[in-house]
Subunit: 459 residues, 2 copies
């Protein structure tokens, strides 16, 4: 097509991929949204992104931005379409140790940023299993969460400034590195989490945090989830709110992990139903492992916990984290799956799990729930393997989970975003006035509807 040649003239022919060359962008590792795009454009600069969007807008050509391609909700699904990959824009421009900020391009891989911050004795705290592939652009577009949200917040809490290219190719410069900036409507927070529907994020100023002097990490077994919440409060109180991660792995998760990952082992001598990974970090003391060990010993004595193993070295800590970070792979390994990503108030998590399981068992007695939770955030990745691959049944299960979430004042979309997979849920569950506002904002900022159409905001 002529348009392809015009695009190729902007990025160079070798960066306008078609045919077999788009294979890496055709996969979707949830297994649900595999499709070959028609073209993948790989611009090298904001200027090139701007030219692509201006041309696309003039020609009413839809564009689907993509960076690390590790999303879980089909947010980059574009069969036969034009994908705009940010992967070549991968420069870390600045790590400012004094100001504790990083200036990075959208295509920087999350773990590269981790490394660059570490070299300055700082951290970019956001982390999750796909950190070796996920890129900052996608992290920001989806307002990614992960395991350290409890302590440091979501992506939107870690972004000071950004640059984005709008649907018509204009570049909006919001590259502030200030902690305080009340100059008009907050466009930064509007673009973060907009899943590529309002603009293509090309650059960011991110907050860095001081690197903890020491981490202490433990696996803890408890009898009930209420005991787990008590454990969280006890550790928070004893450490001045220094808990970085509080992750719940149920029995079935440990079993699947052991079955599928070579070298994987039980966290404790005896198997337990409720397995908690807790991590604490401090910037002042160095003996925090002793502190954690002491808390565990006291709680064991009081019968408040069933067992505990405190990591004695980095290798043991690493093994604890590897078990947790295998979650996405272990979840999507088996198909068909109904996967959700819900949040409820912390003290409602046990009730959610009980009610959801009971309702699903009624609808499909052969269904098997498979879940794991950022328990400290009330965020549950609640999946279900239905007894048969039947779309009506799968929809029914999703609705039952949504009903349960809604009854408990929760959200049907905690951290993975909406993309395609939760579009029906958005339509059914989101406040209709809020939906109308979103549609209006989308329409006025992208009047031709070319930016990642069909995602996030239901018609």
């Amino acid at each position: 097509m002529a348009l392809l040649q015009d695009f190729a003239a902007i990025v160079g022919a070798e960066n306008a991929l078609t045919g077999d060359d788009v294979a890496p962008w055709s996969k979707d590792w949830t297994g649900k949204y595999c499709a070959q795009p028609g073209v993948v454009l790989r611009p090298a600069s904001t200027h090139e992104v701007s030219r692509i969007m201006a041309l696309a807008n003039a020609e009413r050509q839809s564009i689907t931005p993509v960076s690390g391609h590790t999303g879980l909700v089909g947010g980059t699904y574009a069969p036969g379409g034009v994908m705009l990959s940010l992967d070549r824009m991968n420069t870390i421009h600045d790590i400012n140790a004094q100001g504790r900020t990083a200036v990075v391009d959208a295509g920087v891989v999350l773990s590269s940023l981790h490394g660059a911050a570490d070299a300055e004795d700082l951290i970019f705290p956001l982390t999750f299993g796909a950190k070796g592939s996920a890129m900052i652009g996608g992290v920001m577009s989806t307002n990614a969460g992960g395991s350290n949200v409890l302590r440091y917040g979501n992506t939107r809490d870690l972004v000071l400034g950004l640059e984005a290219v709008l649907a018509d190719g204009r570049v909006v410069d919001l590259m502030s590195s200030l902690r305080k900036d009340n100059s008009g409507l907050n466009l930064r927070q509007l673009l973060i989490g907009s899943e590529g529907t309002l603009g293509v994020i090309t650059k960011a100023v991110l907050k860095l945090h001081p690197k903890p002097r020491a981490y202490a990490t433990a696996m803890v077994a408890v009898a009930t989830l209420y005991d787990a919440l008590e454990l969280l409060n006890r550790v928070q109180d004893a450490t001045g709110g220094s808990v970085e991660a509080f992750e719940y792995m149920p029995r079935h998760y440990i079993d699947v992990h052991m079955a599928r990952v070579s070298g994987a082992r039980e966290p404790f001598d005896a198997p337990h139903d409720i397995n908690i990974l807790v991590e604490v970090a401090t910037t002042t003391q160095t003996d925090i492992t002793d502190t954690l060990q002491q808390i565990m010993a006291n709680m064991m004595e009081q019968g408040a916990i069933l067992d505990a193993v405190v990591a004695q070295n980095e290798a043991q800590r690493g093994a604890m984290w590897e078990r947790r970070e295998a979650a996405a792979e272990l979840t999507f390994w088996r198909q068909p799956i109904v996967d959700t990503d819900v949040a409820v108030p912390l003290d409602k998590v046990p009730e959610f799990l009980d009610r959801a399981s009971a309702r699903i068992a009624e609808a499909d007695s052969g269904a098997e729930p498979f879940y794991i939770a950022h328990l400290g955030d009330g965020n549950i990745h609640y999946g279900v393997y239905p007894s048969r691959d039947d779309d009506a049944l799968k929809d029914r299960i999703v609705e039952l989970i949504e009903d349960t979430v809604q009854d408990l004042g929760g959200s049907f979309s905690a951290e993975h975003g909406v993309g395609l997979s939760k579009l029906n849920t958005m339509r059914r569950r989101k406040d209709p006035v809020a939906l109308d506002m979103m549609r209006k904002i989308k329409t006025v900022l992208d009047p031709n509807g070319i930016l990642n159409p069909g995602k996030l905001i239901p018609d």
Copy 2:
């Protein structure tokens, strides 16, 4: 007018004020935006706000929302207009000690919320001089800052959910109490800081924090502002980032404070040029005053600070804070004034002060700068008393300050908002693409332009 009767029918005649009854809403204590509104409507519920807006929209009647009326930028200026006061909607619906959240109406006074949280051993950390009058609605509409931003963030970091009435009277329900909620565009952050131009905030879910077990507060004198930043880093490092406030009061501020406030005294035995109020808080230890005293003693010995007084009791702490919190009154006591509220990267504060003073002296050799700073945020309330009341001269001074801020990568509006007073600055300094996005969003959400017209977003 007939419309007034229709409004009165909604709120009751006794809550549709005119004539002398609007006097409390006619004052503006900056002295710059005094004007009598035509009507003040005082609805008692979201439903009444909704009916007011629906009627106003149908009749193309502008509405200016107001709550505590303590803003500093003319954000509620409405000569002869219709003001919608939220002051009767002042219920604290819930303080959830377990979930650490508060559900409040927009008309709740900030200090009332402080009291209610305190009763549950929690804090709502946002605080500033006007806390006894400022209300949550205004706090949210302006994304207010204050003295604890360093530790807890601005208002937008403390809001989990909100409810607002749109220009057409529809109510948008975003009353989530979740820490994680990725369900669509972030309308909450769009409404926070929108200064009543996109909707009337009627209710909120706010984050509460654990109440520190102990505070330690000191006045410290240093030789240079670079020494002050070194002091901040030293105290942060020694306390694991527990600094809640780090406020800079220059010599001229102390002088004016002593001249105008009865009983006011020098912070130290000898007068110093650079006076810092530093406050540290902890939820784990109780002896933090000792810790702070130790740090001060070490730094004195090393010659890193000139003098220090650590508060030994709540009365001494109170006196230190009273000095700081008199700032707005002391600033606006004298007229004419050019007042600004700028932010620059932390390490650029000394350079900003030097450059701005030099430039202003060139333009007006009789001008007297008067400033105070949230130094830990790089936020300077930089005022200038020009030698004569001349609009062209005042504009020139504003532009010189803006130039200096822009040169140093700062913001012309840190925490007070834009309102009327920074509208020209927005026009001149804000990224034009960002301005265009703001105008489009305003137009699509308030097509008749009835919500607080002429504020925040320049034409």
